[in-house]
């Protein structure tokens, strides 16, 4: 079963949280980030081309204009492929692990999977400094939803459902 809610991130953009409930032991959250805005794209392209045209009037070399076109295209492709994240997904599978996927605007997906045995807990933390001080028994803190940057209300929803699954898993693992 699926349901969708809309939240806002720390900068005020709109986020959509989709929750898919596959079974009592499997849950998926999909958080979609605000899309690339036409205004900023036009602004960047215009500024690059104005600068190139300015250089062209100084140097009278038409290679500058072609170079500017190349740079704009390559920059846009690079931005879509390496920087702009379209949506982030969190998949929790009871007794297997937690998987985080970031899908970029060009379709590339980068996935990380952590086994359940290595997961101590899922928490909401006020601020993370990534100090080298290691708390007792924990070797790494992994931040989630780094790109979407949702606000506290969205995080509470995710946190509640994660804790339900983790509790369910602990309950069934203790029983034979």
């Amino acid at each position: 079963m699926e349901d969708e809610q809309s939240f806002s991130d720390i900068c005020g953009g709109r986020l959509a949280l989709q929750r898919r409930y596959y079974s009592p032991s499997c849950l998926e959250f999909c958080l979609s980030c605000p899309r690339i805005s036409l205004r900023s794209l036009t602004a960047v392209t215009c500024s690059v081309w104005l600068a190139a045209y300015g250089l062209f009037t100084l140097c009278e070399n038409s290679m500058i204009l072609s170079a500017a076109i190349f740079i704009t295209l390559l920059g846009l492709l690079g931005y879509l492929h390496f920087v702009k994240i379209d949506h982030e997904t969190l998949l929790i599978i009871d007794s297997l692990g937690i998987q985080m996927t970031s899908s970029y605007a060009s379709g590339k997906e980068s996935t990380t999977f952590i086994e359940m045995g290595k997961v101590k807990d899922v928490v909401i933390n006020e601020a993370i400094y990534m100090d080298p001080v290691k708390p007792h028994g924990i070797s790494q803190v992994v931040p989630l939803f780094q790109s979407a940057k949702p606000r506290l209300d969205c995080l509470i929803e995710v946190y509640r459902s994660c804790q339900e699954i983790l509790a369910h898993q602990k309950a069934t693992s203790t029983s034979p």
Partner: protein, 600 residues
């Protein structure tokens, strides 16, 4: 815990039969390795499993039944399948069922709770995880065979849930050796059941590798014995060898070739990758070198180069002379001390004159030398680039000399100034205590000290200017040489085989340290991230959850970082702060430390 059934994707279209695999009780997961088809004789199946268990030390057993029918199984078949459960007793007993042509699966796991009626048997919730057997086998995410605390028949307890799956599949290779064309008593279905995978080129290469490696290893040992000969350790030669970067590069290449053609087999996948990377890097180097060689020898380019070399050297010397004339006048409007200026300027001008005579002496031989040096490009592009770097160093030797003179003079002046400044203030450097102490000087000591101090202070601008100009020139030459060395390092250390593998066979390169497997050579990998990813297949209510497990390949940046080859190690070890400090105090800068560096 939810029961996880790992099912190979190749068996999803196989006919009905028995499920054969391994049950891991700690993770409550059943790893299905193959399907045994009807008709079979239970005794023969048990014999086969005992053989496999002995050969691979994996506790292979019959886990349950697999049913692939057009419609729901009939009553009689249902009883037959349950009857099999009593012959091959295994707890829990899996019953997987799929309708032919549809995507709906059903699975049941029953546990016999004792001699009471079957109505009292419990049922567990089952999760189906599909995996590609071939990729899992080839991804080498299983622990290496030489773990110290191995127990017979079981994976080590420290291996995580998924590592146990990979380990099971990898160690059961003997089960996958029979295909359906064998006339054995038992018909199995697995990833190699259509025919065992092999390549004739690989087999031929393996067969030829033995004698070829022996021959080349012998030749290389001869070469290295000749190189380690006593003659080369005598003082002038050993000094020259240590300063030339070409010798360093040749030595590095010789080491790499010895590694590739050594007759020992690689002990683990890391060593194999390193060998493969080194081989591909050497081959690429030689190919690029041959391209350069053919380009040089076409249209007599070497002759053109030799003809252009002397005028260029002359031009550089002339420019230096102009520079010195400018310094001897009033450079940038500054007023220099006339006498010191003339002395230093004339000294350096004489040096340049000597240098020009030397170049002109060498000019008839330049073309021959260049031609022979150009031949060395067939050893590799890196060797050619190292020779270029050495030629630049030799041609700008006078700039290096000027830098050393200027730096020494400036350094002496700075030390003198600092010591006399202390005298001026009535203090002294205490060598015993390594600190500045107050001291009472005699009047004549103070007088002479102050006089010398004044002289040095007024001569400082002249010396400082000469030092500045020649340091800048020297830094320019060092930058050019540094760029060439950077390129050589890049060619030396780029792991091309791993990058090619990541492009064409990404499942071979996943992150093994995730699954609790010790990994050599890269202790700073993040250990929590497993090399797999999961995808949820279409889910219908009431049906079991189906997941697809795929290998998650390393990103390109991590491939380069993990598999990069060790380079010569000739990198500058200064930070920017210490570099500036050395420049200010006039200490000599050695841009790269070579092995056995001589102290100045």
């Amino acid at each position: 815990m939810v029961l996880k059934a790992f099912f190979p994707t190749c068996c999803a279209s196989a006919d009905s039969g028995l499920l054969v695999g391994r049950w891991v009780p700690e993770q409550s997961s059943a790893v299905v390795l193959a399907v045994v088809h009807f008709p079979f004789i239970p005794i023969q199946v048990k014999e086969l499993l005992a053989q496999v268990q002995q050969a691979s030390r994996v506790r292979v057993a019959v886990l349950g039944t697999w049913c692939h029918r057009r419609q729901e199984p009939e009553e009689s078949l249902g009883h037959f399948l349950e009857g099999l459960g009593t012959i091959f007793s295994h707890e829990p007993w899996l019953q997987l069922c799929r309708e032919r042509g549809s995507k709906s699966w059903s699975c049941k796991a029953t546990r016999w709770q004792g001699p009471a009626s079957s109505a009292a048997s419990g049922e567990d919730q089952v999760m189906l995880i599909f995996y590609d057997q071939r990729k899992v086998l080839l991804s080498q995410l299983h622990p290496p065979a030489a773990l110290p605390n191995r127990q017979a028949g079981d994976a080590t307890a420290s291996a995580g849930g998924l590592a146990a799956v990979f380990d099971t599949v990898a160690r059961s290779e003997v089960l996958f050796r029979s295909d359906r064309f064998d006339d054995g008593p038992v018909q199995l279905s697995h990833w190699q059941s259509e025919g065992v995978e092999a390549s004739i080129l690989v087999e031929l290469a393996k067969w030829a590798a033995g004698p070829v490696c022996l021959l080349l290893a012998f030749l290389l040992s001869l070469v290295s014995a000749a190189g380690a000969c006593r003659v080369f350790k005598l003082w002038p030669l050993s000094f020259i060898w240590s300063k030339l970067s070409t010798c360093e590069q040749l030595r590095h290449r010789l080491e790499q070739l010895t590694l590739i053609f050594s007759t020992q087999k690689a002990k683990n996948p890391t060593q194999l990758m390193r060998k493969a990377n080194t081989l591909v890097s050497v081959l690429l180097d030689v190919a690029l070198g041959l391209v350069l060689l053919s380009w040089l020898h076409r249209k007599d380019r070497i002759g053109q180069l030799a003809d252009a070399l002397i005028p260029v050297a002359d031009h550089v010397a002339e420019e230096l002379q102009h520079l010195l004339q400018w310094l001897m006048g009033a450079p940038a409007g500054l007023k220099m001390n006339r006498a010191l200026d003339q002395v230093l300027g004339r000294f350096f001008l004489y040096h340049i004159h000597l240098w020009i005579s030397y170049i002109h002496l060498m000019s008839p031989f330049i073309e021959r030398i260049l031609w022979h040096v150009g031949l060395s490009a067939c050893l590799g592009l890196t060797v050619a680039l190292s020779i270029l770097s050495d030629i630049i160093a030799l041609l700008t030797f006078h700039i290096y000399c000027f830098y050393v003179y200027g730096a020494r003079l400036y350094c002496l002046k700075i030390h003198g100034l600092s010591s006399l400044w202390r005298l001026f203030r009535g203090k002294k450097w205490n060598v015993l205590r390594q600190r500045v102490d107050s001291c009472s000087y005699d009047l004549d000591q103070l007088f002479i000290g102050t006089l010398l101090f004044t002289i040095l202070v007024f001569l400082l601008p002249t010396t400082a200017l000469y030092y500045l100009v020649f340091t800048l020139l020297r830094l320019l030459v060092v930058t050019v040489q540094g760029l060439i060395h950077l390129l050589v390092d890049l060619i030396n250390s780029l792991p091309l085989y791993s990058l090619g593998l990541r492009l064409c066979r990404p499942y071979r390169l996943a992150e093994p340290s995730a699954l609790g497997i010790p990994r050599l050579g890269s202790p700073h990998c993040r250990p929590e991230h497993a090399g797999v990813k999961f995808q949820v297949s279409e889910h219908e209510a009431g049906r079991p959850l189906r997941l697809l497990m795929q290998i998650n390949p390393l990103p390109y940046s991590r491939v380069v970082h993990t598999y990069r080859l060790p380079s010569c190690g000739c990198h500058p070890k200064h930070s920017w702060g210490s570099l500036c400090r050395k420049l200010f105090f006039g200490e000599l800068i050695y841009p790269w430390k070579q092995r056995g560096d001589k102290q100045d």
